[in-house]
Subunit: 351 residues, 2 copies
């Protein structure tokens, strides 16, 4: 299948205009578009512009609010509960992490639980904000069920991702992981592209192994470490869904096929101000030592370099900023169609 190589800023501007055409204010449309395009820059296509179709359909049907609003339901010095008022998840996320960063400066840490939100894209987007301020960042979100509790074949919890980031003298060390062997987004993307999936990624809805992404999409994805990955996912749902007052497990709305009821997604955000615990320079020096050490370790046969978490994505981001983002034909045509549908001139061209 062919791909088109697109300039990242042109892609972001085009997506922004489409959101604007759907009533999202310009500045906020830029945040959402930036988060999506950043996923494509990093090579996390499952959370990138391939989601434009569903995002726009949700705005068009008004099942997601185009105008950002947030209500502080509980306000403690270092812990808040926010109501996202059914705004776009990226806007809730950016607002919440900025508040965490601000509050962590005086309290050492700040934790925010957010309810009544929507899909917030790539969790790493928010923890990067903390790392850029010299803070340790954490974030997670819940998502509709696609992992079965250990011992069952019926999905109950989502592949609720957890992201962590730590600042260094260079780029942050950043882990953004689903508690499954792969994110369900990758199975969905494979289905969209008509590509088979490796065995060990997903199970059919009867709990049988499969390489067919369409069967996998209807079934469950395999948790890492068996009960451990399931347990992690469950706890992310407890923090994101139950603590915040959002929905959880099977009660979460489905983004893909329910355009009537809000999803009521929950997230958490947390910033730890390192300078309140130790000297930030010492912290960065020591993490620099850790990185240097790891880079110098002996490699397995066939391995040319050892990477820190987030390093491959960061390298790809730089490369794609310079050379353009490869966009699959299917997604490219979807984007063209969205422009026609919402009256936005199609400005994307192969670089």
């Amino acid at each position: 299948m062919s791909t088109h190589v697109i300039n990242w800023e042109a892609l972001r501007a085009y997506c922004q205009k489409i959101f604007c055409a759907l009533g999202v204010p310009e500045e906020e449309a830029l945040v959402v578009a930036d988060c999506l395009v950043d996923a494509d820059l990093c090579g996390v296509e499952s959370h990138g512009v391939s989601r434009m179709t569903v995002y726009t359909k949700r705005l068009e049907t008004k099942v997601v609010s185009a105008v950002f609003k947030v209500i502080t339901e509980r306000d403690n010095p270092a812990g808040l509960t926010l109501n996202g008022c059914n705004s776009m998840g990226m806007l809730v996320g950016k607002y919440a992490m900025e508040k965490c960063i601000h509050r962590a400066k005086t309290n050492g840490i700040c934790f925010i639980a957010a309810n009544n939100s929507n899909h917030y894209g790539m969790a790493s987007y928010y923890v990067s904000m903390a790392a850029a301020q010299g803070m340790f960042g954490l974030s997670a979100t819940n998502a509709p069920p696609n992992i079965a509790p250990w011992g069952s074949y019926k999905a109950y919890v989502g592949t609720n991702p957890l992201a962590l980031a730590a600042p260094t003298h260079g780029e942050p060390v950043l882990l953004d992981m689903a508690p499954s062997v792969v994110a369900m987004g990758k199975v969905i993307l494979a289905a969209k592209l008509g590509k088979p999936i490796p065995e060990g990624w997903a199970l059919t809805k009867e709990g049988k192994p499969t390489t067919d992404p369409n069967l996998g999409k209807q079934g469950t994805v395999v948790p890492i470490g068996g009960p451990k990955g399931y347990g992690l996912s469950l706890f992310m749902d407890i923090l994101c869904g139950i603590l915040s007052g959002a929905q959880f497990g099977p009660y979460l709305g489905n983004m893909w096929n329910d355009f009537v009821n809000p999803q009521n997604v929950g997230h958490f955000f947390c910033a730890i101000d390192i300078s309140r615990f130790t000297d930030l320079e010492i912290f960065k020096k020591r993490i620099g030592q850790m990185i240097t050490d790891i880079k110098a370790l002996p490699k397995n046969e066939g391995i040319s370099e050892l990477f820190l978490p987030g390093e491959i994505e960061q390298r790809r981001r730089l490369e794609r900023k310079a050379q353009g983002i490869p966009v699959e034909e299917v997604v490219f045509e979807e984007l063209r169609g969205l422009g026609q549908k919402y009256g936005v001139e199609f400005t994307l061209e192969a670089k």
Copy 2:
């Protein structure tokens, strides 16, 4: 190999007396003994009284301080750095989690990073304290290297466990997981008992699969989800070791064969006061719904019951409190030997 079934309170009292004989004050000796015996009650024998030999040797050689002391190095409303003054890890842990719980009541959350500590036993011990107070608890510790960075065969990070607990109307939901397929403690225990280990648990120091626990002990354990488990472990070390000012990775002292230099282990503790984010009763009602739902899901062939994280351990705890703890012959004889060595009458007998 035969086992002896021992009354849990007798076992705890005997261990307490041994610690007292080594200069640990009575009340503090009880905390340490309680944490060890609780691990045996839960069936986590790798973190139970099988560690008495090494714990006592470390006290005897004074490489670990018998007297508890802690210094607050940084004090922010919701975030502290504690110096554990080379005290026993359980004492640092209990003190720190109590402080987290206290501070979370006014701030919503409290996070403590502790340096200059020692092996703190089972991480679930501390998060249970938070759950018992209607709070969400988190804790992790670092440990000497036994996981290789992804792509290498050389250990750099420990199987740094992460524990999470949430209160319910009944027993807490509690996940205490190493980021590896199994904890290195299980490989060590298998070596002590002369039992082979399943393939997929550990690699030799050259990175080859093995079923020999002695080779596995010298090598590495396999991280869950490959780079994900390695990444989780790395981040636990960043929070426990680098943020706190403790040692990290290969710079951590070895508990088993270095009786001269303090280990300088680091931990973190965190309590989230649920009532500051939502109504605690609503939280418990919703988590109760989650539990009821999961219990009622269809089961895979051969599965008679679905368990929540921590449920099997809690059930075993009740059973063993009633019926006694099975202690392996090797460990039983070690305990007898410790009594002779430190002048404590051997009071254990098969129940």
